[in-house]
């Protein structure tokens, strides 16, 4: 990890706000609790949309499933906020943890996947699929990538703790 990153991270750790995040274990438990709820909202909604695009639960029409996306975004935002506050609370711990950075990479890729979904017009192609109708192969690829990446995010998130201190301080 380059020296300038280390100095920024150490500075964050020295701030009063950072100390505040870790001052109470109940506050920390609250952050983590909301983080799990956000992840459940995200997986419950996006997961169902992805499964339908992959051809499961075909009795469901696709367009109403898309109405669930705001809930997914809510879940993601809850996690962005709680995750950000957690990072500010323990910046050194997260910065030197390889699982944390892999998780960030997975989230980035999931975001790119979402952009692909809309910008390639795939969304418009599957938006009006009714019950029993199959999605095109590229839509299935996006759905499979989405499921894979979000599960990777969950798994990597769990491995942050045991993989502490896996990146060297330079």
């Amino acid at each position: 990890m380059p020296v300038f990153v280390h100095s920024i991270v150490e500075w964050i750790a020295s701030t009063e706000f950072s100390q505040l995040m870790i001052a109470s274990k109940w506050w920390w438990a609250c952050l983590m609790d909301l983080h799990f709820i956000g992840l459940t909202l995200l997986i419950g909604t996006i997961g169902l949309l992805d499964l339908r695009m992959l051809g499961f639960l075909k009795q469901l029409p696709v367009e109403p499933l898309h109405q669930l996306v705001p809930w997914a975004i809510t879940g993601f935002c809850i996690n962005l906020v709680t995750g950000g506050l957690a990072f500010i609370g323990m910046p050194v711990f997260y910065t030197y943890d390889v699982a944390f950075w892999l998780k960030m990479l997975a989230i980035l890729l999931a975001g790119l996947n979402v952009m692909l979904f809309y910008w390639t017009g795939t969304f418009r192609r599957i938006e009006h699929l009714g019950p029993g109708e199959d999605a095109p192969p590229f839509a299935k690829f996006i759905a499979a990538s989405s499921l894979f990446l979000w599960f990777a995010v969950i798994i990597l998130g769990r491995y942050i703790q045991p993989l502490e201190d896996t990146i060297a301080v330079r």
């Binding site: 438990a29 009795q59 045991p162």
Partner: protein, 170 residues
């Protein structure tokens, strides 16, 4: 109240020791990941049904959502099994913590509510979707609350235990 000795006996078994101390990627954290994924499945799917019953994303047809129940039950069984292994790894930590028993109680009640939703809302083919929503509304609210309570109790386990292992105070 003294801590029962049988908890130490469990901790002294090969399996328990392996779960706690193994360097294998399939040790404690892997079991935790499986537990997290199971939780995301059952609570995610259940939350989706609950939100729909409460009127969110109203164009999603309710009847096909009955197909989510096998996913939810699979999630539960995965968690029952992974949960047993987690307790085998840290029996004193779990079984001397009152919060753990609350977690089990909330899960039991949430499952009862889930089954009631299946029987009263989804299994009565004479109901139209408006009637299904009306019948399921209160159960859906209870279900949301109970799963929230279960997740919160689960999260709090990491912050409320008295003994990490037999004879080892937190």
């Amino acid at each position: 109240m003294a801590v029962p000795l049988f908890l130490r006996s469990i901790e002294e078994t090969g399996l328990s020791t392996w779960i706690r101390q193994s360097d294998s990627p399939f040790g404690f954290y892997f079991i935790l990941v499986v537990h997290t994924i199971g939780m995301a499945s059952i609570v995610g799917a259940n939350t989706l049904i609950n939100l729909r019953l409460l009127g969110a994303a109203p164009r999603i047809p309710l009847v096909p959502l009955k197909r989510l129940f096998p996913i939810m039950w699979s999630g539960f069984f995965v968690n029952a099994i992974s949960g047993v292994f987690l307790v085998i790894g840290y029996p004193t930590k779990a079984l001397t913590n009152p919060v753990f028993y609350f977690k089990l109680l909330f899960i039991a009640l949430a499952l009862v509510t889930m089954q009631k939703i299946k029987n009263r809302v989804f299994s009565d083919t004479g109901l139209n979707e408006i009637a299904m929503e009306a019948k399921g509304r209160i159960l859906a609210k209870w279900s949301l609350f109970l799963w929230f309570a279960a997740i919160t109790s689960g999260r709090l386990l990491a912050y409320t235990y008295t003994y990490l292992q037999y004879g080892v105070h937190s």
